[in-house]
C-alpha cells in the first residue's frame, strides 16, 4: 500500500493542488472504478461512450479542482460530474428522447447502490489489514469459514466471531463518516 493511498480525499486534493503528479495518479486510481461503474452499471453506457465520459470526467477534475469548495466532498463532486456527463452522452447519442431528469430517476437506485458499495470499499481500507482480508474473503469472494481458516492460518472456530468484530469496526468507521459535505460550483 503506497503512502498516498492512506490519505483522506481532502488531503489528496491538497496534494493535487500543490502540483504533485503522484497524487494525481492516486486520485485517478482511487476514483476510476467508481466513475466507470456509474457509467456502465448506473447509466449502462457502451464501452466507447463510457471511455469518453471517463476521460472527460478526469479532464474536468484536473482543470476545475480549484473550484471545489469542500476538499472532503471530492467523491460527491466527481459523482455529480459523472452523472451529468453520462446524461449528456445519452442525449447526444439519441438513445433517449426524454429529458435528462427522467434518465437520472430511472437509474437512481443503481447509483445509490454503486455509491454505497464504494463508500463501504473506502471505509474498508481504513480497517486493519486482517479485517480487510477476512471481510473481503467472506463477503466479496464468498469463501467459507473452512477456506478462510486454511488460507489465513486461523482457527476455524474463530472465523465467524472475527468477521463479526471486523463488521463492528467497519460500522463504527462508516458512522464516523456520515457527516454531510459541500459540493463545488463546477
Amino acid at each position: 500500500m503506497s503512502e498516498l493511498s492512506t490519505l483522506t480525499d481532502a488531503e489528496l486534493v491538497q496534494q493535487c493542488r500543490a502540483g504533485d503528479t503522484a497524487a494525481w495518479n492516486e486520485l485517478v486510481e482511487r476514483f476510476s472504478r467508481y466513475v466507470y461503474a456509474v457509467c456502465v452499471k448506473g447509466f449502462r453506457l457502451g464501452e466507447e461512450d463510457a471511455e469518453d465520459v471517463f476521460q472527460e470526467v478526469f479532464m474536468r477534475v484536473f482543470t476545475h479542482l480549484d473550484t471545489l469548495r469542500d476538499d472532503a466532498a471530492l467523491r460527491p463532486w466527481i459523482a455529480q460530474l459523472t452523472r451529468r456527463l453520462c446524461i449528456d452522452s445519452i442525449s447526444r447519442s439519441g438513445r433517449e428522447q426524454a429529458a435528462a431528469e427522467p434518465v437520472e430517476e430511472d437509474v437512481a437506485g443503481d447509483l445509490v447502490e454503486i455509491d454505497e458499495a464504494f463508500t463501504v470499499r473506502e471505509a474498508l481500507t481504513s480497517l486493519p489489514e486482517v479485517c480487510q482480508e477476512i471481510l473481503d474473503r467472506f463477503f466479496a469472494q464468498d469463501q467459507s469459514y473452512r477456506t478462510i481458516s486454511a488460507e489465513l492460518d486461523l482457527p476455524s472456530g474463530t472465523i465467524a466471531s472475527r468477521i463479526a468484530r471486523c463488521l463492528r469496526r467497519l460500522r463504527d468507521e462508516l458512522e464516523g463518516r456520515n457527516e454531510p459535505a459541500q459540493g463545488s460550483r463546477e
Binding site: 467472506f138 467459507s144 469459514y145 476455524s156 465467524a160 463479526a164 463488521l167
Partner: protein, 155 residues
Amino acid sequence: MVARSTRDSWEDAPGVAAQALAIQERVVQLAPADAEAWETALTALREAGNAEGDGARRDFELERKLGLAAAAPLEIAELGADAAALAALAGEHGDPAYRADAVAAAALAAGGARAAAHLVEVNLAVRAGDERLAQARASEQAASEAAERLLASIR
C-alpha cells in the same frame, strides 16, 4: 433471528446476523443451480446408456457433467457447516431466551450439510477417494459437531 433479537445485549449480534443473511443468499442462489446441474447430469447419464460410438469420449463428457453437478451440493454442504457454526455462536452468546431457536437452526443446518454430502456421494457416483467427497464429509462433520455441542450445552 436469534442474533437480530439479541442486538442490545450482544455487540457482535449485528455482525452475526449479517453473515447469516449472506449465507442465506448464497444458498438461495445455489438451489436452482444444483437442480439444473443435476438435470444436465441425469440427461447425460441416460444418453450414455443409449449411445453408441466413442466410449472414452462419452465417459469423459459424463464425468465432466457429474463433476459440475457435484459442485453445488459440495458448496451447500460447506454453507451448512458455516450456518451451524453461526447458530452455535448465537446460541452461546445470544439471549438465552432464544437458545432453543439457535439449537433448532444448528440442527437444520447440520441436516442440510448431511443431505448435501449424501448427494455428493451417492447421486453423483463420486468414488470413495475423491477429494470432493472428503470435503463434503468434513463439512457434514463440522456442522454436526457444532449442533451437538450447542445441544449439549443446554441439556
